[in-house]
Each structure stands twice: as C-alpha cells, then as structure tokens.
C-alpha cells in the first residue's frame, strides 16, 4: 500500500476492484466503513461477482474477469475527455510533460514498437524519453502552465506576502537554467551516457529489466539504452509526443462503447461509475482524495502488473498519490506476505529489493553500475533519485551476510553471491522440476501442490524430485502428493521421492514480526509453545544449515567459502532468536560514525538509527535497508504500542514501525502544492516550513528534508525522474510503457481492440505435455474465476472444525440463469472441466453472478473457492471429490511479476 489501512478513513471516494476486502480482509474493511460513516465517502465496487464487499457499495458493476484494463482505460479516457485532471500535479509531479522518443508506437494493432515475433520480446529502445530540455512553446504556454501553479499558490495564500514570494520563487526557478542536479550524484554528461552491460536483460524482467523469456545469458551482452539525463519536456502539454498527448491518444480508443463490448458493463453504468469516481476533481477542486484498493484479483492475470499500472496512471491524473485518503493500495492476502517480499522472498531480489546479480555482473562495481540509476529529468528540475544509494545498501547487506569475510579488498565478498541466468519464479521452478532439472524442494509455510496453477503438473513434478521437505502444522496435500487422487497403488510404489515431513510451530507458537499491507512491522509474542515434537521453523533451518556447514568444513566442496563464512553470530547457534535476527536486519555500525549535519554520533557495535547512516565503505552492516530503523538503540521500534494520534489522520506514529523510516503515507510531498502547502488544509500530512527551511508535518516527510519548493524536486524520489511515471520507460515493464487491454490467455472472445493480437504478446506460457490451453471452439465457453472465502484461510482451516462448521464443503457458484438453462438445482453436483482437468462440487445457484453480453455474445462466469483438496475434515469424511481447484487453472503468467492467471480462464460446465 502506498498509504495504509487506517488512512482509508480519510478518503472521499473508493474504487475497490480486483479485491474483496470485506471477505478477505474483514478487519481492514473497518476503514472503508469509517470513511462512509464519517465522511460520506462513496464506495464503488467492480467485480465479476456481487461479493460481500459489494453489499456495502454505493455502486456495483459486474465485470468480466480479466477485462480490468479496458474498464480503467475507459475511466482514464473519461477523465481526460471531461477535464477531471489535477493539472498542476500532472504537469509538475508526473512525467506527463516529458517528450517520448521518436519512433515510439502505440499498440493500435496490439503491439508497441520494437516487437520481435521470433523471441516474443520487445526491443525497448524507443520506449524512452527524448533528450533536449525545454520544448515548451515560447511565451504564453509556459506562463499558462506556471500561471496555473502560481495562481493556485496565491489563491491559498490568503494574500500573505510570504506565500506570494514563494510562488514567485517557484516560477523563477524554471526561468533559470540550472546546470547540475542536486541529487547527491553528478549527472553524467549527456554526450557520454554510462554504459551498462546487459546481463539482467537476459534474465528477462523483474522490476527494471526485461528480455527474452527464458533466454540464457550467452553470447555478447546487449547494451541496453539508458534514460537521458536532460529530458525534453513541454509544460504546455501540447507536444504531439509528450506523454500526456500519447496517453490521450492511447486511451481515446477506450470509449464507453468499447468498454461495454470488452467488460460487459453497460455503457450507462460505466459512465455512472466513471463520473462518480472522477467527481472528486470536478471543476479543478484539489481538496478531495480518492483511493484505489486492489488485491490478487488484479495480479493474477497475464497482464496483472499492467492493471495496477493503469490504476497508477488514473491516480496520477487525478493527483491522488501521496495524499491522505488516496494512493494505490494493494491488500496483501497473508499476514506477512509484505514481509516475505521485502525480505527477498522472490527469486529476483535480495532483501530491500536489491536486484539479484546476473552472470555478467562479474564484480561489485559492474553490478552497482548496472543497478544504480542516474537522474533523468528536465535540467531545471531536481531529482533525489534515492536509488543512487544502492551501493550503500548493497555493501551493508554483504557485510550482514558475510561479516569479516566481506572486506574492501575482497570486493566485499560479492563473488559469494549466486548469479542467476534463468528465472526461478514459482511456475518456472515447478516446470524445471517437471523437466527433471530441479531435484529437491523445501516447502515451508506453503502448500506447493495447492497454490500453483495446474496442480496435476505440480504433483507430477514432485514425483520426479529426489526429495521433498515439508514443514507444516497439518498433514497437507504437498507432503502427501504421492497419494493424490488418480494415483494407483501400483504407481504409488514407483514414486521414489523421499518425503521428509517436519512438524512446525504455528503462527501463535513463535514470536517475531509480521509486516502488514500498510508496511508496518509489528511484533507478536508467543501465545503457547509448539506441541509435542513440533519445532520452530528458524530452529529447523538453523540446524540444517549448521549440519551443511559441518559437511563443507569436513569434506570441502566446490565452493565452500560462502557457506563457511556466512555470518552466524547467534549465542545459541542451534536456536537463533527472531529478536536477534530482527536486530541484525536493522543493522549496526561497525565503526564510530558521526552525522556531519547534526553532530549525532554512534559507536561501533551500536544499532543504526536508520538507513541514512548506511555506508558503502564497509563500516555498516544491514540485512535490509528498508527495515533499518525498526530496532535501534532506543529499542525495538516494531514492538511499540503507542496509541496517540495527534493529527487525527490515523498516523499513529508510535504504533509499531512502518517502512520506510516510519513514514505512513509514501510520496507524501505530493500532498502539497508546488509551494509546499497542503492541497487540503484539513488533511495536512507534511508541509514546507519556510522559517525553519525544512519539511515538517504529522507524518515523516518522504522527501529530501531541506529541499525548498523552489528547487522543484520531484516527490517520487524512488524514480530517477523524481516524478510519477504515467509512461513507464525502457525496462520498467516487459509488455509496454502504457497498459493495453489484452484478453486472458483463455478467453471467450478475440480482443475487440485488435483481434489479430488478442493476448499479451510477451505473456509466458509453456509447451509441456500437461500445459494445455482451451478455446471456446473446443467447448470451453464459460469464464471461471477462483477466490477465497471469509470463513476459510487458504488450505489450513479445512482442518479446523469451527471453520468447517461455517462452510462445510466446496462448491461452485453458478449463475441462476445458466443453472435454469441446464436444469441444475442448488446442492446438485456439477462437473467443471478445463483443458487440463476437471473439478466436481455442489452447485451454489445464485443471482450474484449474472450473464453478460461480451462483444455481442452472451457469456457466463462461474466461481470456485479454492480451499479444499484431499486432506482435511470434509475430505476425510468423504464430502468432497478430493480435487484441488487449481487442477483447472492454466500455467500462464504475467511477464513482469510471473504471477499465474488464476482468474478468468475457460471451462465447461456439466451436471455431474
């Protein structure tokens, strides 16, 4: 979340889409209700089903699963057509004014410029900004753009001289061409951009790079283009190649009629929703704020990342990012999934989102050069470019990993780090196991058979593994994959995989912190010890590591150094405490250090107060720069329980600790106008204090604290541009700088925008014998989506009689009209078949899913809750068909985040 759960109470308008917070985040849904109760905020819910969230909505629209970009693109179009934009915000806080390179082509035919049909990838050279500075037409146009800003400043200044002066300062800043950026790093001369080797390109993706899917880093690395240091821009937004004009052109195709054809939402309803959501910017008013709330209903598509990008574009147009009650807010589906991602629980990043080295990153300086961005912005503007600190974060991380072995002389033991030349995303990992490349798997805190798409393939992959270690609190489908339904006793005998099932402690049986959707690190205590022989996960991992280390010590091996030199400074090596690990993650000083500005000193060995103290000379160690400040000399900040909220904005600065730097709303500089004055004085988060010459506020300013508004530093300090990206340049996305609607991999129709390029051209799919895909022509004509219920938590609670009592067995939600047609009554069994497998459960016949007209074709959607498999109370009592719902879902995935397409695939429905 850019904001946080509690902050939702500050909103005036909510769009919930691709998420079902009332059912899957009921405790958090308190805040939308608060906003409705206390601010008369409106709630718009767009979902394939009328959910329990929809029951509280002011407006509900039923959408076809997988058509979200078409809907949001339509709202973007509506916003532009009806001038519901936040003009000053747009011009100065986003890249709307930036000029895009000549040769960049919009995907009118479904393809952006640079597509290579052979490798199914894009050459992104044209997905870049033009270089060249101010192209704003002389005279009136600049005045127009700036005049708006100045006028706004004056209007809110109550005629005080100081404010008047501030506006003038801002205006004058643009007139004086500043030659250098103030961003901690000198700007590279434009004629000689630093060369970057291509290794990561071959890795194909991640957040910054993309390339051939599954391609190996062989041959000469291709040098990817860089962002230009002095971008061309037109503050009048009139240049035909400025981002604003391209955006307008791109979404002019997303007319209300087109939205209706693709999404199934009738035009009048769509217009009602578009008008309601954008009404917060009616008549140029900047006081109100709207929030967009989503979850895995957006991510689990072959274009999931781009759906979220569309939401970001809309929020930037409306000036909603960085503001109380605004933002783009991802609701995380597990209590600590945010923490897992932050701590490098994804294959392509180290903790703190530091990129995993590629084989071509042969030493630390090459790696750092490739991964440390340089500012790219108009010369007259400033960019903090916070990722310029990457070397400090990485060296401190290496010190945390390898301690004394990481010295300047040894390149900080950088060569210990694995360099990966291929992707190990979940689906690809199992594909590799299925193909015999991956020989073993540790499955802790997850049920591998159940969570992936195409369960049959996952089960078959495990059959081919040599060993499997499962740490769980219940006997689960993964540890019993060898007796999944359909495996004969004969076959069972031939499965050679050795399975080690280890009883672990549950969440209440261990302490430690969890990081929630709002980025808070919150500590919990042990409620009771693990029962019987069950052990804590960290003890199991520690003891396995220590034995492996002993083996390397005794027997040597190809490359024992990274194992032998790994920091393991826990007093009880067999049982490291999570508090010790949390302190290690926060980081400590390895030499005395003094802050030259404040004179504050920390001694060697002391906990670091925050990531601003990190050094690249090896005198600090830190396990995750984002978490630095969470456990300081002042104590465990993540254990704080202060309930004060002086501002009334729900900031609660002394409750737990929020990354980064305990700031609750990210990019909060954007909550102020150009002069540093809050857009809405009733919701003042941060502001520029002219007399103190610094940013202050109710929240921790997400900004360079002493950068005056006249410097025109962009609020989006993590982007090298300093501004929000409406256009995602270069390798930001694998599938285009602007989101484009593509059909789900299995779709009932051809894409009405470009039937010849119906699906995402760079989406990943597989060609193995079990990777089958269905079409409507084969009879798979019903759109199927999968989801969770309030009453159950993934695949655990089917073992708990309380929850089984609430929802006793699996079901399939079937539209009443379709059920009538097929003669299906509620409670009768139905068989759902996809190209991969079938699923049998009782039908829940409901009015909550209605038939839709999709591109002139009557289309039905059904829904399947995912909670049941072949181990659990209902399963053991013979109440289910023992089939996981994911037997049905396809092995396809998003090219940016590698998330499988669990939503909106094709099936056929029959009576069982």
């Amino acid at each position: 979340m850019t904001n946080g759960w509690i902050d939702i109470k500050n909103t005036d308008m909510m769009l919930v889409m691709g998420g079902n917070p009332a059912e899957n985040h009921p405790c958090g849904f308190k805040w939308p209700v608060e906003a409705k109760r206390h601010r008369n905020a409106k709630l718009i819910v767009v979902d394939p089903r009328f959910t329990r969230t929809a029951s509280n909505a002011d407006l509900f629209l039923q959408i076809r699963a997988g058509s979200d970009i078409a809907f949001l693109g339509g709202v973007v179009n509506y916003t532009l057509q009806n001038n519901r934009i936040a003009k000053d915000y747009l011009v100065h806080f986003t890249n709307a004014a930036f000029i895009v390179k000549e040769g960049f082509k919009l995907p009118e035919d479904g393809l952006f410029s640079g597509f290579d049909s052979k490798t199914q990838t894009y050459d992104k050279a044209t997905w870049n900004y033009e270089q060249g500075g101010n192209l704003t037409p002389k005279g009136a146009a600049i005045a127009a753009a700036l005049g708006g800003a100045a006028a706004a400043g004056q209007a809110s200044a109550n005629g005080t001289g100081a404010q008047q002066k501030a506006s003038e300062t801002v205006a004058s800043a643009f007139e004086h061409q500043k030659t250098a950026a103030k961003s901690g790093q000198p700007v590279a001369p434009s004629s000689n951009p630093p060369q970057q080797p291509g290794g990561h390109e071959a890795l194909g993706g991640g957040h910054q790079a993309a390339g051939p899917v599954g391609a190996k880093a062989t041959g000469a690395p291709k040098v990817p283009p860089l962002l230009p240091p002095n971008t061309a821009y037109d503050l009048s937004l009139q240049h035909p190649r400025c981002v604003y004009q391209l955006l307008k052109k791109q979404y002019s195709r997303y007319t209300p009629e087109m939205v209706e054809r693709i999404t199934g939402i009738p035009k009048d309803q769509f217009l009602k929703a578009a008008d309601l959501y954008t009404s917060i910017r009616k008549d140029g008013d900047m006081k109100k704020a709207g929030t967009i709330i989503y979850a895995v209903g957006w991510t689990q598509h072959t274009f999931g990342t781009q759906i979220i990008k569309t939401a970001a574009v809309l929020q930037l147009l409306l000036g909603n990012v960085g503001r109380a009650g605004g933002g783009v807010n991802a609701l995380r589906g597990h209590s600590n999934i945010q923490g897992a991602t932050d701590m490098g629980g994804v294959f392509d990043v180290h903790p703190g989102y530091l990129k995993i080295p590629a084989p071509t990153d042969t030493n630390l300086s090459i790696y750092l050069k490739r991964t440390t961005p340089t500012p790219s912005k108009p010369n007259e503007w400033d960019s903090f470019n916070y990722w310029s600190n990457t070397p400090k974060f990485m060296v401190s991380l290496l010190k945390a990993y390898y301690g004394d072995a990481a010295q300047k002389e040894s390149d900080f033991a950088y060569h210990y780090l694995p360099k990966i030349d291929r992707r190990y995303s979940w689906v690809e990992l199992f594909d590799r196991m299925y193909n015999g490349e991956v020989k073993g798997l540790f499955a802790f805190g997850m049920n591998a058979v159940m969570i992936g798409p195409n369960s049959r393939k996952n089960i078959d992959a495990l059959k081919k593994a040599d060993w499997l270690v499962v740490g769980e609190i219940y006997p689960d489908e993964t540890s019993e994959f060898w007796k999944s339904p359909g495996i004969s006793p004969e076959e069972m005998k031939n499965i050679k995989t050795t399975v080690y099932r280890l009883a672990c402690g549950g969440f209440a049986e261990k302490d430690g912190s969890m990081t929630n959707s709002a980025r808070w690190l919150q500590w919990k205590n042990i409620a009771l010890p693990p029962p019987g022989d069950a052990r804590l996960d960290q003890d199991i991992v520690a003891q396995i590591f220590l034995r492996i280390r002993d083996l390397y010590r005794k027997e040597g091996g190809k490359f024992p150094d990274p194992i032998l030199n790994l920091t393991w400074a826990y007093p009880d090596a067999q049982h490291p405490s999570l508090a010790e690990i949390a302190k290690e993650i926060n980081g400590k000083a390895l030499a005395d250090a003094t802050d030259p500005k404040t004179g504050q000193t920390i001694k060697a060995g002391q906990q670091l107060p925050g990531f601003a103290w990190l050094k690249e000379d090896g005198t600090t160690s830190c396990g995750n720069w984002l978490y630095s400040g969470s456990w300081t000399e002042a104590g465990a900040q993540m254990q704080r329980r202060g309930t004060e909220d002086p501002s009334g904005l729900g900031v609660y600065p002394n409750w737990a600790w929020s990354w980064p730097a305990n700031r609750r709303v990210m990019y909060n500089r954007a909550s102020c106008d150009l002069n540093g004055k809050p857009w809405d004085s009733d919701r003042a988060q941060v502001w520029w204090n002219e007399s103190g010459k610094k940013w202050v506020g109710n929240d921790v300013p997400d900004f360079k604290p002493d950068s005056p508004p006249s410097d025109h530093m962009g609020p989006f300090i993590m982007n090298p541009e300093g501004v929000g990206r409406i256009f995602g340049p270069l390798a930001a996305f694998a599938d285009g700088p602007f989101p484009e609607h593509y059909e789900p991999f299995e779709s009932p129709i051809k894409n009405p925008l470009h039937p010849q390029q119906s699906t995402n051209p760079v989406a990943k799919w597989f060609k193995g014998p079990l990777d089958k895909y269905g079409t409507p022509e084969q009879g798979f004509d019903v759109v199927c989506t999968t989801y969770r219920l309030t009453e159950h938590y993934h695949y655990w609670t089917k073992n708990n009689p309380m929850e089984v009592q609430l929802v006793p067995e699996p079901f399939v939600e079937v539209p009443a009209e379709l059920a009538d047609q097929m003669g299906i009554h509620g409670g009768e069994k139905v068989k759902v078949t996809s190209a991969r497998s079938h699923y049998i459960a009782k039908a829940m016949v409901t009015r909550r899913i209605k038939p839709m007209m999709i591109d002139g074709k009557k289309t039905y959607q059904i829904g399947i809750p995912i909670h049941w498999g072949y181990r659990g109370i209902a399963e053991d009592e013979g109440k289910t068909a023992l089939t996981p719902a994911n037997l049905l879902s396809p092995t396809t995935m998003d090219p940016n985040a590698y998330t499988p397409e669990f939503k909106g695939f094709l099936v056929k429905l029959e009576k069982a």
Binding site: V33, N40, R52, S55, E809, A843
Partner: protein, 317 residues
Amino acid sequence: MFDEKTLQIRAISAHSGSVPGKGVQREVEVCKLMDTTTCIGCKACEVACVEWNDMPFRQTVFDNTYQTMPETEWNFWQLIKFHEVQRQDDGGLAPFQKNQHDGNLMWIFRKDQCMHCSDPGCLRACPADGAIVQYENGIVDFQQENCIGCQLCVSGCPFNIPKFNQTTKKVYKCTLCSDRVGQGLEPACIKSCPTGCLQFGTKQEMKEIAEKRALQLREQSGFKNAGVWDPSSIDGTHVIYVLHDATQPELYGGLPKEPRIPMVYTVWKYLLKPLSLFGVFMGALGIFFHYVSYGPKPTLPEPPRAKETKEDERGNR
C-alpha cells in the same frame, strides 16, 4: 466502553410475589445495535459467541447459501441471515419473484438472535419459577438449572429463538453475555465485530446512533425508507436494527414488523397458566397411578437425532 456492572432483576418467570430487591437500584437499559447497512456477513460474531460460551460445534450441511445454518440452534445463538433482495429506483427494497434473475441486486445481512424484548413472550409463557429472568438492564436470561424443559417459552417467542437440547432437556438462547455485561464488558459478538456494525451501550445512546445513521442513509445514500427497528408491539427490544428499508423488515430473513406474543400468553395468561399447571399436576398424578398399576416401562433407546450425535463427535475432535 459500557461500564454498568450490576445485574438487577426486574422480572422472574412464574414467580409468585414481588421480585426481591426490585427498584432498590437505578439501572440503565442496555442495548445492542446492529447496523445491517455496514454488516459484511463475516460471521466473526457467530464464532465469538460459540467460543465465549464454549459451545460444541454443530455439523452443518451445504444449503445453497453462505448462511451457516437455517436458524439459530441451542448451541448456536448468533446467526447472520443472508438474503438477496432488489433495490428499487425509489430507494426502497423489494423481494425477488421466483425465477427472477434481473433487478438491482442487494445482498443483505442481518444477525438473528434473541431480541431481549422489553415484554418477553418467553418469560410470560414460562411456568417454571426462576427459569427465565429479566434484568433491569433489559437482558432476558435463561437459568437452565430451573428449566423444566416444557418448551412453552419456544411457543411464546415471536422470533423462534429459544431452542431445546434433546440431551440436556433444557432450552438455551443468547444471554446477551450477561456474564460479561455484569462485569462491565461488552458482549463477545460486539467485541469481535470488525466493521463496528455491532455496537453496545445504553438503549438511549444506541437509539440516537441508530437514528443518526438512518438519517444519513436517507439523505446520503438514497435509502428513503431507512429507519430503526425497535418494535413497540412488545414495548421495544434490547437488540435494535438499522435497516435500509424499515418498512419491510420481513425482507431481512423474516424479521416481523410488529412482533406479537401469542394471545394465549397475554390475554389468557392468568387463566391458562393455573389451568395448565393443574393439567400438569393431573398428568403427573395419572403417571403415578399408571406406574403403580402397570410397573415401569422397558428402557428404549432414545429417538435418534443424527445431527446432534455427530456434533458431540465433532466437538471432541
């Protein structure tokens, strides 16, 4: 938080004479408010109730609905009823016709439970001294140790709430967590509610909050019939609802608009009760003479009630 810590008795079932200590202490009336317009049907209240009262689990069956079971049970006192209705252009609600699939769908949730009536039909009907008491704060509580299992309370209730347990031969229902309220705590369901659609306080406070919310719904959300359900036909209740359409409470899982205690327990109460007691006495006399004349009946197995046998198994898992 609500902090009334006394439980002063106001009325006692089938008790002759006055209520001991009545009127010696001033006590405010408590009330549970359920705002159906902010309920999300999460069932946290159902779970909190089962857990606080330590009740054995029931075995439920799939019934083409998200609703946990058809009605409250002796060991399941809070039940959210899930209903689909349509919202009409004028802001009122209407039921769906059979086989009607179109219409502006609304999915409404109402927690069903004992209403803690000011004029409790159960208490009026109960022939057992002290089996049902009504406290001054409005809570109507069953005292199972005095319950004779006659189930007259079941027929006296306008809401089908008291439920008989075949094993213990007693009747049970929501206590409004009198044990918690007596200690200054809110009921368990209130504590568990994530959206705050359940609130607890004095009747006066809750009425004010409810009326304010109903006004907001009329003015801001276009529910022109939004209002508060607190039926005067039984002198009001200590569980009140905010409804999107207070003119049609029946749409919320059969919530009666004007609940009535069966005539037999009101008009004829003073006539019938002695008569029925006489009947019971004569019956007992008959049984006594039958026993004396014919001897004991051979033991037969209890009539099977599959559901509840399973429940105990489930409870012991």
